[in-house]
Point group: C2
Chain length 285, copies 2
């Protein structure tokens, strides 16, 4: 497994692979890898000739009061996990390689990023779309893999790719969960064991809403009430938002007459967690 830190070197590697007719799969990550990341890598491995993973804690997607400095990092452990997949190339640039002095160009997808996390994390998605556009130009993949856990990110990246005509196929992969239901996230490392227990309220609340949907309730307000009831049992969980949205446009909806997503962001102590479940009539999908 090769570790590349320079943009130009990564581009040369990818260009050479493409000239040989090889197909490149790409999994962008911020490292501190878990099963969610690894499931993306395995699918990438399966579907292409070459597999590139980036490990880059992207400063521009963190707000000034967010956790950029404390975000968990363990490059050596990440490398052990990636060797096992196996990954061909790890692209791991320093921030100054990605954002040199004078950097001033931003990629922004506007409507999809207004609500949900976008409303609480100004600039976050601008940072995400900018770094993903950069990484696509650096890694030159044929396929790129994103997890459904970051649902708004997934939809936004898909839109960015389509709007800017990136010739990259975006592959969405299901959220990977701990056996007790907690969605895997690098930020779970922040949780104390009591918080870890309380954090289960998120997936339990979404499950309760989904059950209600499957039982035939198509009113967002009913599903939300169901979820809120579960969340109320964990007073240490502070909900930032809990919404039913159109699965495609992410606009809030009150009737589930099309594919929808129920999404939550909540604080457990000083840790912000997100989760979601797609609510789609099998026939309507």
């Amino acid at each position: 497994m090769e570790v590349i830190k320079a943009v130009k070197e990564m581009q040369r590697w990818s260009e050479a692979a493409r000239l040989r007719g090889e197909r490149i799969a790409f999994v962008p990550t911020m490292g501190y890898l878990h099963e969610g990341h690894l499931s993306l890598m395995r699918e990438g491995r399966r579907r292409a000739d070459r597999l590139v993973v980036s490990i880059f804690v992207n400063p521009t997607q963190f707000g000034p009061r967010e956790d950029f400095n404390t975000y968990p990092r363990d490059f050596e452990r990440d490398c052990v996990l990636m060797e096992r997949v196996p990954v061909d190339v790890v692209f791991a640039p320093e921030p100054a390689e990605m954002y040199p002095q004078g950097f001033q160009t931003w990629v922004e997808t506007t409507e999809l990023t207004r609500g949900l996390c976008g409303a609480f994390r100004p600039g976050h998605f601008r940072g995400v779309t900018t770094v993903v556009a950069k990484l696509f130009n650096i890694v030159k993949p044929h396929l790129a893999f994103f997890g459904e856990k970051d649902y708004q990110q997934l939809r936004t990246v898909e839109r960015m790719v389509s709007d800017l005509n990136f010739d990259v196929e975006i592959v969405a992969m299901p959220t990977v969960r701990e056996p007790d239901g907690l969605a895997m996230s690098s930020r779970n490392a922040y949780l104390s064991s009591a918080e870890r227990q309380a954090a289960l309220a998120l997936s339990r609340a979404l499950n309760a809403a989904q059950r209600r949907f499957r039982e035939g309730s198509f009113l967002a307000e009913e599903l939300l009430a169901e979820a809120r009831q579960v969340l109320a049992q964990e007073p240490t969980v502070r909900v930032e938002y809990l919404e039913v949205a159109d699965a495609r446009t992410l606009e809030p909806i009150s009737k589930l007459d099309r594919p929808a997503v129920i999404a939550i962001a909540a604080w457990v102590g000083r840790t912000r967690l997100i989760d979601n479940v797609v609510l789609a009539d099998v026939g309507a999908q």
Copy 2:
């Protein structure tokens, strides 16, 4: 010469050419071609295996009160000129192919676009960087050619390419002028013969400033005074801006202690014209 109108078909053509190891030169234009465009194409022809030209009057770089609808168009005449170069592929999409329903992603280079034309044409450069990013992803060129006549556009595109890591070499080519000095522009077609005569004041004014610079004046105010004197002789020319700026950052400067550009935008009747001259001590470049 092949004419391609669909994004996917252009991408397939370029991908196939790249797989054969061919180098692609690209000249993005809004059509109504003149010698300026043709000089870019000839250089592209010389420096690559394949030459692609786009003809697309990009709606997003025109303000609501600007000349998108009246911008001169003559695709058949353009094709005759391109055949002679010769051009391999003309990419000529419809606006709806480039900006389908729901389009919402923008590429913006911030600092370089604040002054000069950016101050008078809000949104213009956002439209330019967005369409150039799209065209690069569609045409997948190794080299792309831009004229120095649109100096702020050239610097902005260079910065966008560097910031977003497009693996495209930007080649700048000198402004092509009519024998009497008028910078070539598709918009010159708007000018009546009296306006055509008055429009010479722009290049004359810049020449006067450049002469003064070569004679040893390094104060922006002195060069501007010289230019203003020439412009005052054509009262029908309404100056929008006339500035001496750092050639790299485009920030206004008062002393010419580094490479600079003197740039003008002016209205001649209802036609807005721009021109510029780079003022660089040969030793300092």
